[in-house]
């Protein structure tokens, strides 16, 4: 008996430490300041001998040099600003001369997919900004080319440089540069996803099980193959690390990453995995084809295997927080299937998972899916809150009962 109690205590301590490690690494993403920025500042404006910080938002340095008489002379500005790439923000350092032209750019920090950034650097994309005037739009839709295969990342770089340059133009050169107003794009993608969520809610609330097949099939085509936007751990990680895309440009991201967890919490059911997930839909279809009736004869082994997803999700989150790269957490084969954008072994994971799901019902979801873990955590929080509330009510009831009894005794 004491042995079981001891084991349970050790388990709790271990769980507490694991959660604390995760929170600590997440905290470093929010609070750790940039280092070695000054080296990059010197790199983009090498003729300056010293730098003085003159503005904080965005961060602007004034580059100075000394003449033969020791008199300081201004030689240019360096601005540091950031914009969203594909997997997270990209921070750019831009050097500007006194004629208002860009003389150097360098990436200070990014939380984007490393392969995209490597591709951009190897194609010498940053050099196309040299010599451009700070009053130009510097927009990939207008005067700057995009890098195919890294459109969002190259767009993020151009946007970060543009924002910084325009800020310098306004504050230091006194020029009237108006930022492009981003239009609210509520397109077909948003309409489809919102409709699917509404359909799902109707199905769940009215217990219309046939609607589940409708939402799953449509989601497989729309959220899956057409737009490749299923919820993935990388998106959730990006959200936890404080990287939010523009609502105007990516409304669907907010529906899936914020809206769905809220719905799950309110309804108390894992609605996404069983009603909306395109990969779940595909697995249900494969299970229909292959029978999907294989079950591990040893239930203890199956129960242990179902714990693997928690460990994998934890490792992925920890790795992403330590490396400060949300894309590290995206180990699901969703992108390989729906966007043909798999990385390395994802191309091997996908066929093995699809083959297994022919015989084992929802093979990926039950044993590996981090999105399932996320939904289970939300439901666990919900259950815990309800339990605390219930305990409070019981406690109040017992206290009231005791009080009435003591009053009776007093009488």
């Amino acid at each position: 008996m004491t042995d079981i109690k001891g084991k349970s205590k050790i388990k709790r301590i271990f769980l507490f430490l694991a959660i604390m490690a995760l929170l600590f690494t997440l905290g470093t993403n929010w609070f750790v300041t940039d280092s070695d920025l000054l080296k990059l500042v010197e790199k983009v404006l090498p003729e300056a001998q010293s730098f003085e910080k003159i503005a904080l938002s965005p961060l602007i340095y004034e580059g100075k040099t000394k003449d033969q008489n020791g008199v300081e002379e201004k030689v240019g500005y360096v601005v540091i600003d950031q914009a969203m790439g594909y997997g997270g923000p990209i921070k750019m350092v831009t050097g500007i001369n006194l004629q208002g032209r860009i003389v150097g750019t360098v990436i200070a920090d990014h939380k984007d997919t490393p392969s995209f950034i490597d591709g951009i650097i190897s194609k010498k994309y940053l050099e196309i900004f040299i010599g451009k005037s700070i009053t130009e739009p510097l927009s990939i839709n207008q005067d700057i080319d995009r890098i195919s295969g890294a459109t969002y990342s190259s767009g993020g770089i151009a946007k970060a440089i543009s924002l910084g340059c325009h800020a310098v133009a306004r504050t230091q050169f006194g020029l009237n540069v108006v930022e492009e107003v981003e239009p609210f794009r509520f397109g077909l993608k948003d309409i489809f996803v919102v409709s699917l969520v509404i359909l799902m809610l109707i199905g769940v609330c009215f217990k219309h099980s046939k609607l589940r097949w409708v939402t799953l099939s449509v989601s497989l085509v729309i959220i899956g193959f057409q737009y490749n936007t299923p919820i993935s751990l990388a998106n959730v990680c990006s959200f936890l690390m404080g990287n939010f895309p523009s609502v105007k440009a990516n409304f669907v991201w907010y529906i899936l990453i914020i809206g769905i967890p809220i719905i799950t919490f309110i309804i108390g059911k894992n609605v996404y995995c069983f009603w909306l997930c395109p990969f779940g839909a595909l697995q249900e279809i494969t299970a229909k084809i292959g029978g999907g009736k294989f079950k591990c004869p040893n239930k203890a082994i199956e129960a242990k295997a179902a714990q693997i997803k928690y460990g994998l999700a934890y490792l992925a989150l920890l790795g992403a927080f330590i490396l400060k790269s949300p894309s590290f957490a995206g180990y699901e084969p969703f992108a390989a299937l729906f966007g043909r954008q798999g990385v390395g072994l994802q191309w091997l994971i996908l066929p093995v998972v699809l083959f297994s799901s022919l015989f084992i019902s929802r093979f990926w979801c039950r044993f590996f899916c981090p999105v399932m873990v996320m939904n289970e955590v939300i439901l666990l929080i919900r259950r815990s809150i309800r339990m605390i509330k219930r305990k409070k009510v019981i406690l109040k009831g017992t206290l009231a009962e005791k009080e009435s009894k003591s009053i009776e005794i007093m009488r």
Binding site: C296, I301, I308, L315, F328, G344, L345, V352, V353, F368
Partner: protein, 52 residues
């Protein structure tokens, strides 16, 4: 009394183990060194031999 592992158990363990290992390898980016080794074996030793 301990239950003996059946063929079904072994197949299940093999599948679960294979996918878990693939995910961990993918996560740790060990795949890059493995792919370099494959290239090396395929005759690209001039390019990737040093990494392997």
């Amino acid at each position: 009394m301990k239950n003996k592992l059946t063929a079904g158990d072994l197949i299940f363990i093999a599948l679960i183990g294979l996918v878990s290992i693939l995910i961990l390898l993918n996560m740790g980016q060990i795949y890059s060194s493995i792919s370099y080794c494959f290239l090396f074996l395929g005759g690209f030793n001039e390019l990737y031999g040093d990494i392997c």
